[in-house]
Symmetry: C2
Subunit: 472 residues, 2 copies
């Protein structure tokens, strides 16, 4: 039986399509942070939707689980097989062609394996913007972005990946192809089946291609680094900025002083953005197509008024593109800095925007008491209420896996409980994968879980499509 | 058995909650256009989600079908019971409270029975915008807008209703309550169950409340009426406007000369917007929060350049709010004008934006040949590829229902076939309801229909929740 499936896959996929060498498979069975380590029976690298479909059918016939995989940049283990060694990893990297860019319809059609950076570049080449902005853009793939409903720094203005997908194609858990690769902005002919595949982390099918929304390419921008006396002020500033700057407010990113200090200490080519030191900072960006307004000056005026009204304590508007780049580098290198600071327990909670300050205050108090030796860094997206509480543990004391796992459990307990108590969620933009799966029954309504399991059973009655992820 | 259900409903709903008088029920069993006429066993008017839930449970126990109903402004018969007289109509009009407006989080929480106009007004009162813009705003209800995934004139900028819903609450076909009334901008803890209820026209549950996204309130705008030598120029103009005006382009509405002539002839207080006559017109609107730019002048410059480049032949930018209002009146009174012109067969197709001109040319040729005595009016949303081909039949010759139905069938056949052949859909913003249900098997992929039926069976195994709508 074993030989038969591999033979079938080799025939379906042709040369280079089937990988059985454990050394070649190894990088695909663990995540980049080193938290998940699985074993795969083999890895396949299909070149077409037909090959994905045939692969799925072969696996189903043999009762073999399938793990879809994009750029493997996730942090929740959603693309990592379990330890049984039974699964076939279906890696989409060879389906990486951006098929068309239509600047009239403002759409881009791409295969699932194209990287985000390439999709963004192809849009830019056509004078358009694809707005999804993630630190992992060089490696992450569009299929994974869709499967995980990726967020990032521009959600405030452009929405999550869900809002950026006009059409998609997916191979169902029974191998049939859902052909929804349409570019229509309005289509109300029945249930919106696309939504089943967006954010379901490969548990209801394998996304193979998509039609994405493009936007006008901004031609002017303004970037500022702003110091705040308290994190509550970030919420007031958000309201002020939306009122005065409207939809051209593209990002408002929050960082605690300790987080910024860690970046300045551990990341080369960084420097203090402001002369003044403050407990909280936000990075603000406006973008616009109109070049007849001096947006940096506009932003400076708004921030000066916010200073006069005691909302902000200091602010610097970037005087050049290079200075704006330096500001953004402070934000984009946060993960790098944190990993260099110690052993990291990260969280991905969202709370209602008005509750951000309370969430931070309460987690801080409880975490200091639960893990007094940890450093707490906060970084987040103010406009989405998505605050990452990053618990950094002294590396020597938490070198042992058991000690680390125990600390992580204690930190999770505090952060998840407080997020939920404030009407928030425990997984905002990174998904569930393996890491939050067993937490869901505690934090989700039983009716939600029942509906989720019903959907899973409906589409994947054999439980062979990315089993053990998202739903238990 | 019959008496028992009514007794149970009376007990659940209290005084005024159960309506059994046929005269009082009558307005709720037919649509405003007079195309659908059903019979209901009774009508209930719940005041709370608990009452809706108990009503559904009682009906299920008795095996009685349920027809959810909002403002009854639909055109596809989605809220009208069938002729059997077996159904209970659940009208949400008494659940009409806008619960909270949060200008910090930019959210509005409302019960399903609130009218669109009231929701918009409450947002405005708080200095915010709820952007959904429909001609029926005075009567249509938020629950119906969600159930039908409403579109309208601002989709280009703000998306369909689906993109405007942050959270929702719904009573499931088994009477349980899905409690998704959250305000989070990011939540990836499992499948996005909200999506099941948006656009499924009450066949998977009854929407009882929602949290909606609010936007910054524009404080400046520019409105222009533009004449075009050919409809293809509307697409070029769209690209030019998005490039030069970015996301502040809020609407670009297309009208054929005959459509405008019908409005000018049949609607009081209208007048020619331009001295020049042309075969096609578009109404353009920009809105922005920034008041430091003269947007009318900005738009005038863009349009002047478009005239120099032979994209437009003439244009008038409104010099006052009252003139802008007059321009919009020409667009908003289209349905009124068409009904006064003759017997109307309307269509709700969308095609890829680049195919708009071809779609119009081909439908025109075929319709003229199929129904030479009809007048053809075109009106639509350029940015969404959503073109309504309106076939106006001479009223005397088509007074008889049979003659009218036959003509409608012939017109539908042409318009639907051509939309599908160009990669479009037969129902863009009005939904399926009863009117397109039997067309779906011809135009949808069998796999889509199979998934839709599976979802329907999963949530409503007894087929009692708005049966006979959307899925056959």
């Amino acid at each position: 039986m074993t030989t038969t499936l591999e033979n079938e896959l080799a025939a379906i996929l042709g040369p280079g399509g089937l990988v059985t060498d454990p050394n070649e498979i190894a990088p695909h069975t663990k995540d980049w942070r080193g938290r998940y380590n699985g074993v795969a029976r083999c890895l396949v690298r299909p070149c077409s939707t037909a090959e994905v479909s045939a692969t799925v059918k072969a696996c189903i016939n043999h009762g073999v689980p399938i793990v879809p995989q994009g750029g493997n940049t996730g942090v929740c283990g959603g693309a990592i097989p379990d330890a049984s060694g039974r699964s076939v990893v279906v890696n989409l990297a060879r389906m990486n062609r951006v098929r068309t860019v239509d600047p009239v319809a403002n759409t881009l059609t791409t295969e699932a394996g194209a990287t985000l950076v390439e999709v963004r570049q192809k849009a830019t080449d056509a004078g358009r913007l694809f707005p999804l902005d993630l630190g992992s853009e060089g490696s992450c793939q569009i299929g994974g972005n869709i499967a995980s409903n990726a967020g990032g720094t521009t959600v405030l203005r452009y929405g999550n990946m869900r809002e950026l997908v006009l059409g998609l194609e997916a191979v169902l858990p029974d191998g049939r192809v859902f052909s929804g690769l349409r570019s229509l902005r309005k289509d109300n002919t029945g249930y919106d089946l696309r939504q089943l595949f967006i954010g379901s982390e490969g548990t209801l099918g394998i996304v193979t291609a998509a039609v994405l929304k493009l936007f006008p390419q901004p031609r002017s921008s303004a970037t500022a680094f702003v110091a705040l006396a308290e994190c509550r002020a970030a919420i007031t500033l958000l309201a002020r900025l939306r009122e005065t700057c409207g939809d051209r407010l593209t990002a408002i990113e929050l960082m605690s002083k300790r987080q910024l200090d860690a970046v300045l200490l551990h990341v080369e080519r960084t420097r203090k953005p402001l002369a003044m030191t403050a407990p909280w900072y936000v990075l603000v960006e406006l973008t616009d197509t109109a070049t007849d307004v001096d947006w940096p000056e506009h932003l400076a005026t708004v921030l000066e008024r916010a200073r006069a009204d005691s909302i902000v304590v200091d602010a610097a508007v970037a005087a050049s593109e290079s200075q704006a780049h330096d500001f953004w580098r402070l934000r984009h290198t946060v993960s790098e800095a944190n990993v260099r600071t110690g052993r990291v327990v990260s969280h991905d909670t969202a709370v209602p925007i008005a509750a951000i300050a309370e969430f931070i205050a309460r987690t801080e108090t409880e975490l200091v008491s639960a893990l007094p030796e940890a450093a707490l860094h906060y970084v987040g997206h103010v406009g989405d209420g998505n605050v990452h509480a990053v618990v950094v543990l002294p590396p020597d004391r938490y070198a042992a896996p058991l000690a680390f796992e125990d600390a992580a459990r204690r930190a999770n307990e505090v952060v998840h409980r407080l997020a939920a108590s404030l009407g928030g969620c425990i997984g905002a933009e990174h998904g569930v994968g393996q890491s939050l799966r067993d937490q869901l029954p505690r934090f989700k309504d039983p009716i939600d879980l029942d509906l989720m399991r019903g959907l899973k059973r409906l589409l994947d009655p054999n439980n062979l499509m990315n089993p053990g992820k998202v739903v238990g």
